[in-house]
């Protein structure tokens, strides 16, 4: 049974994929879907509760919350996707190098990984973002700098087992160079756990970006970013709870969707789980 078929039978994974697809459409067409300008002030309509004109109400500066959430999806999801991409590339490069060549190179890379893993990642990201100064780009750099270690570990482990396989020897007997073997023969064999991890990490990274923005290190006003919207709504929590409820809900739904899909992917790619479903 193919992976796609397998995923289709997993209701949660299907739900997750639908939500992600829906969010992707929003990200792509955000400016056309948003009913209002997300950063234009309208001081006469401050802190309105949700109604027919403003489905999610307005914030303390009279901006439409729905429009801000729609445009904010671009930042939250887009940035998370970029970070995951960078992290995957970095992790794959480091993990493959360490696993395939071993020895001193392996020692250096893996000790660096150990050191980075010894810190709570969000605090390390806080420090890096703090040093670089608050901006979206710097948050991305900070997250990428700490997040690759998990990937490097997983890849290294798989590379270590795959490189002992006979087909690697056969490739050497064929006259392939080391780097060719690493990229062409070993890498495709270790990618599936990375795909699962990357999907799950989309959720975690969205959360981390939101958290860092909430703390004021990420997006700067007036950019509509979900984490920052939460922070901006905080002073009005009692009078206008919708300012926090809707961004919070969006973050939750998005993270949940990626987790559902990630779990589904993991089950679909795991041969042991596959047997169970066939029975």
């Amino acid at each position: 049974m193919s992976i796609v078929q397998q995923l289709k039978e997993d209701k949660l994974a299907v739900t997750g994929s639908m939500i992600i697809l829906f969010l992707t459409i929003i990200v792509i067409f955000a400016p056309y879907i948003a009913p209002y300008d997300p950063i234009e002030l309208d001081l006469e309509n401050r802190l309105l509760s949700p109604d027919g004109n403003h489905l999610m109400g307005t914030d303390n500066l009279g901006r439409d919350v729905l429009s801000r959430i729609i445009c904010g999806a671009r930042f939250s999801l887009g940035m998370a996707a970029v970070v995951v991409m960078i992290v995957m590339l970095l992790g794959i490069a480091m993990g493959t190098t360490a696993g395939y060549f071993g020895g001193v190179i392996d020692g250096i890379i893996m000790r660096l990984v150990d050191v980075l893993l010894a810190f709570p990642s969000i605090i390390l990201a806080l420090v890096i973002a703090g040093i670089l100064g608050p901006s979206l780009t710097n948050v991305m750099i900070a997250l990428a700098a700490i997040w690759w270690v998990g990937y490097a570990r997983i890849i290294r482990g798989s590379v270590l087992s795959v490189k002992e396989k006979e087909f690697v020897e056969a490739a050497r007997a064929m006259g392939c160079t080391d780097s060719y073997i690493a990229i062409r023969h070993i890498l495709p064999n270790v990618l599936s756990p990375v795909m699962v991890l990357a999907t799950l990490d989309m959720g975690h990274i969205i959360l981390s970006i939101a958290a860092l923005s909430f703390l004021g290190l990420g997006a700067q006003p007036p950019v509509p970013e979900w984490g920052m919207m939460l922070n901006e709504g905080r002073p009005f929590m009692e009078t206008a709870p919708h300012l926090m409820i809707f961004p919070g809900l969006m973050i939750m739904i998005t993270v949940l969707a990626f987790n559902f899909l990630g779990d589904g992917l993991r089950d679909a790619l795991d041969p042991r789980m596959r047997e169970v479903t066939i029975k």
Binding site: K165, A170, Y180, H185
Partner: protein, 313 residues
């Protein structure tokens, strides 16, 4: 100049239990177009010998001696030079075709690899060659088959694909490591037939590593019998059955099903702790004090017939 000339080859691995002496002082010649069978029990160093030729053993192995291929020493050439030999001049066919193929690449892609690497052909041209090659190893509907993955092939088909991969660059020497082991008997016959056909047509030399005398008899001109790390007898395939000299060779032949199924008493020695003198003396019924103390040299006992035994001294 000999085509492949192995001189006093020693291969030792270093382990915690001591040095594993897998190959000890092997001299071997293969002429152009000649097919040599290397016969021996499991763990007698025959695969190691094959791997040593292409320098496929791990870095911490000690290899001493010389392996001259067309006059050039394979053991001392640079990594770049040996890579140009691998797959192009000397190709290897491995024992287990399922694990010797990358599960995530299509069979066609993998067979195309040697030509892409060595002849720098474009993808389409390489694929064209692959299809031709699959046709010549008698794989039906090669166009569709080339796009399939190794697990979609049957065992016999996979071994055919491996042979295609080995021969696609027209190498001058093939090292075939147990190419028929693990296939069922009817398929074995087909593979042997295919190999002899392919090799006859191309004039390729072959080093066949096997423990199956029947397969070797079918494919080879000469046979070298290996007993822990040494060649104990070298002879033409005809003389092997007609006039085996070494007590081990005779024991080996007698243990065949068609010849009485009599096993040789005792076990072959551990490669870590080899006996002094003749390696076979603890199991040999003709052993004397001389066998226990001195290592016999290869002695010529007939035309292209050598034996390492004091009985013929």
């Amino acid at each position: 100049m000999t085509f492949l000339n192995i001189q006093n080859l020693n291969v030792h691995f270093h382990t915690e239990d001591g040095a594993v002496r897998a190959v000890n002082g092997v001299d071997l010649d293969i002429e152009e177009g000649e097919k040599l069978g290397l016969i021996g029990e499991t763990g007698c160093g025959k695969t190691v010998l094959g791997m040593a030729i292409l320098r496929l053993l791990s870095e911490n192995t000690t290899i001493k001696g010389r392996i001259l291929y067309k006059g050039k020493d394979l053991l001392t050439m640079s990594d770049k030079e040996i890579r140009k030999i691998r797959g192009k001049e000397i190709a290897m066919i491995f024992q287990n075709p399922l694990s010797s193929m990358n599960p995530v690449l299509t069979v066609g892609t993998q067979i195309a690899e040697p030509v892409e690497l060595h002849q720098h052909l474009k993808k389409q041209d390489a694929m064209q060659k692959v299809i031709e090659m699959l046709k010549s190893v008698k794989i039906p509907s090669p166009h569709e088959r080339a796009k399939e993955y190794p697990h979609e092939f049957s065992g016999g088909m996979r071994q055919r694909a491996m042979i295609a991969m080995g021969l696609i660059c027209m190498p001058s020497l093939i090292i075939a490591d147990e190419p028929t082991t693990g296939l069922d008997v009817t398929i074995q016959g087909q593979i042997v037939e295919l190999m002899s056909e392919m090799l006859r047509d191309s004039g390729t030399s072959m080093l066949l590593i096997t423990h199956d005398l029947a397969v070797a008899a079918e494919l080879c001109d000469y046979i070298a019998i290996m007993y822990p790390g040494e060649i104990v007898e070298y002879t033409s395939i005809k003389d092997l059955f007609k006039d085996p000299k070494h007590p081990y060779t005779r024991g080996f032949l007698d243990s065949l099903p068609g010849r009485g199924l009599k096993p040789i008493a005792g076990l072959s020695p551990s490669l870590i702790n080899l006996p002094v003198g003749c390696k076979f003396h603890p199991r040999c019924s003709f052993a004397t004090k001389r066998c226990r103390d001195n290592r016999p040299e290869l002695i010529e006992v007939g035309k292209k017939h050598y034996v390492r035994c004091f009985l013929y001294d």
